[in-house]
């Protein structure tokens, strides 16, 4: 089968990401398929292929969404599919999804800019301090800030509301790492710890004016706790049957899902460090 892999030039900037892309290509070819990288100038050629795998950053506003939808319209298997992109790219929609399906998650509220005393009291009596403020389009820990006081909350939220009609305000949960659970076709594909760097509070933190990423520690997928697996599978089924990366905090009160991402990061030597068959399984999912 002819598999198209939709990428952008930036996907080749990081050596580990570039190596992972080449690993996909060599794995597909060893399985008897062709695997071609296509770029945004080639979008209209998508229907000429048999399957589409997207590695460029997905968002309903990006070119990747157009590639995905053209593939879907043409009846091609596609990872990430348009519905998964629309759902996972937007934290306000995830907020609804978690509520509707009773997914264990940090307490959270939607905020549209009501700064009345009553509204602010309601937020802080529900969530306490500090709170985490997210734009709907946050990714890679950007556009996510922590407010320790009401003044900080007002300043940060007003800044974010300039570019977004809605914000998600979330209870802050301290942890040393987030579980990253890779899910493919509603089965666990890989398991990692995304560690919080020392002195930071999220996986990519600004420390002394510099962006610092925490370590990634791969763990055998068989070692996932049954409770964590059950929560992750039940959530992924609410979105679809594609490839997802779920971020989950482990707390004294049980697991709390922070988010489900389509188009999860796959870097050579990181997510694949223990379960090395993830490339083969993803290619299989595209062609079977």
């Amino acid at each position: 089968m002819r598999i198209a892999c939709f990428v952008e030039a930036y996907n080749f900037n990081d050596k580990s990401e570039q190596l992972a892309l080449l690993e996909f290509k060599s794995t597909a070819e060893s399985m008897g398929h062709t695997f071609e990288f296509i770029f945004k100038d080639d979008i209209t050629k998508v229907p000429e292929y048999d399957a589409l795998f997207i590695r460029a950053t997905t968002d309903p506003g990006n070119s990747a969404y157009i590639a995905s939808r053209l593939a879907e319209q043409a009846g091609l298997p596609v990872i990430d599919d348009p519905h998964s992109i629309r759902t996972c790219s937007n934290k306000a929609i995830l907020h609804d999804l978690f509520q509707k399906n009773n997914i264990p998650s940090p307490k959270s509220l939607l905020f549209t800019g009501d700064y009345s005393r009553e509204a602010l009291d309601d937020i802080f009596s529900t969530l306490g301090f500090p709170v985490v403020i997210k734009t709907p389009y946050t990714r890679f820990s950007s556009h996510v800030e922590k407010a320790n006081t009401e003044q900080e909350f007002i300043k940060i939220s007003k800044q974010f509301l300039r570019r977004s009609k809605i914000l998600v305000i979330q209870e802050y949960i301290q942890s040393d790492f987030d579980w990253r659970v890779g899910i493919l076709q509603n089965q666990v594909l890989y398991l990692c710890k995304y560690c919080i760097p020392r002195g930071g509070w999220k996986v990519k933190s600004k420390i002394n004016g510099r962006n610092v990423w925490g370590d990634t520690v791969a763990v055998p997928r068989e070692s996932i706790s049954p409770e964590l697996e059950k929560i992750c599978i039940s959530l992924s089924k609410c979105v679809g049957g594609g490839l997802y990366g779920l971020d989950v905090k482990e707390t004294d009160e049980g697991y709390k899902v922070i988010e489900i991402n389509d188009n999860p990061s796959l870097y050579k030597g990181y997510e694949d460090a223990v379960d090395t068959d993830i490339y083969e399984k993803i290619i299989d999912a595209l062609v079977l």
Binding site: K40, D41, P60, S63, L110, T112
Partner: protein, 215 residues
């Protein structure tokens, strides 16, 4: 069926109130702007997440507002289009006059017509944000018109049959369409949000009543 609209006269709920509550009924989402990350989009997304039928749904919104998806869907459903190309830079083989439409998440009302080939490369560079996003190029063969479509009705009586068909296929209650009249045929080029003042709200109101009576 409930109607969600900022126009209080025809609304069962405002968008903001609607977003704060669970959804238990099908939804007619009336807005002049359904762009991603705008209130019109969130209303549809909220209804969809709660498993309710909504007009328009999010797939329909994206199909209408992203130019290549609009044209492909129009083609599949037999609406006349006149071909398009996606480019990020000019490679010298592009004809003029040509209509340019930005395919990026930031731009609205982006349509430009370039008649001189010497201006084309610069305009593509600008509209592609220096090759970051594609630009959709449509040949200009006829008279270019902007019409406002409201639940199948048109602001222009000559295009009412066309807007009725557009609404049947795309299910977008209110939008602005950019079309060309070429040899008597109406050719679809683009769909984008209408401005509040461009919409004839009395027509919208009449159509909502008709639709709700049928539901």
């Amino acid at each position: 069926m409930i109607t969600v609209s900022e126009d209080e006269d025809d609304s069962d709920s405002s968008p903001l109130t609607f977003l704060r509550q669970p959804v238990h009924d099908s939804v007619l989402n009336i807005n002049h702007d359904y762009r991603y990350l705008r209130m019109g989009y969130y209303v549809s997304a909220h209804a969809e997440t709660f498993g309710m039928d909504v007009t328009p749904n999010c797939t329909e919104i994206m199909d209408a507002y992203r130019n290549p998806l609009l044209i492909e869907k129009a083609r599949r459903n037999g609406m006349p289009t006149n071909g398009y190309r996606l480019v990020t830079r000019s490679n010298g083989d592009l004809d003029t006059p040509v209509m340019l439409l930005a395919v990026n998440p930031f731009t609205n009302n982006s349509m430009k017509i370039v008649r001189s080939s010497s201006r084309l490369a610069g305009m593509i560079k600008k509209m592609s944000m220096d090759a970051r996003f594609p630009v959709s190029l449509h040949p200009v063969k006829g008279e270019v018109l902007e019409i406002v479509q409201m639940l199948g009705e048109s602001t222009n009586s000559e295009t009412s049959e066309f807007t009725r068909k557009f609404f049947e296929i795309f299910n977008i209650p209110i939008c602005k369409l950019i079309v060309q009249i070429d040899d008597g045929n109406i050719i679809l080029n683009h769909c984008e949000p209408a401005m509040m003042r461009e919409v004839k709200w009395d027509i919208v109101s009449d159509r909502i009543h008709e639709i709700k009576q049928r539901a």
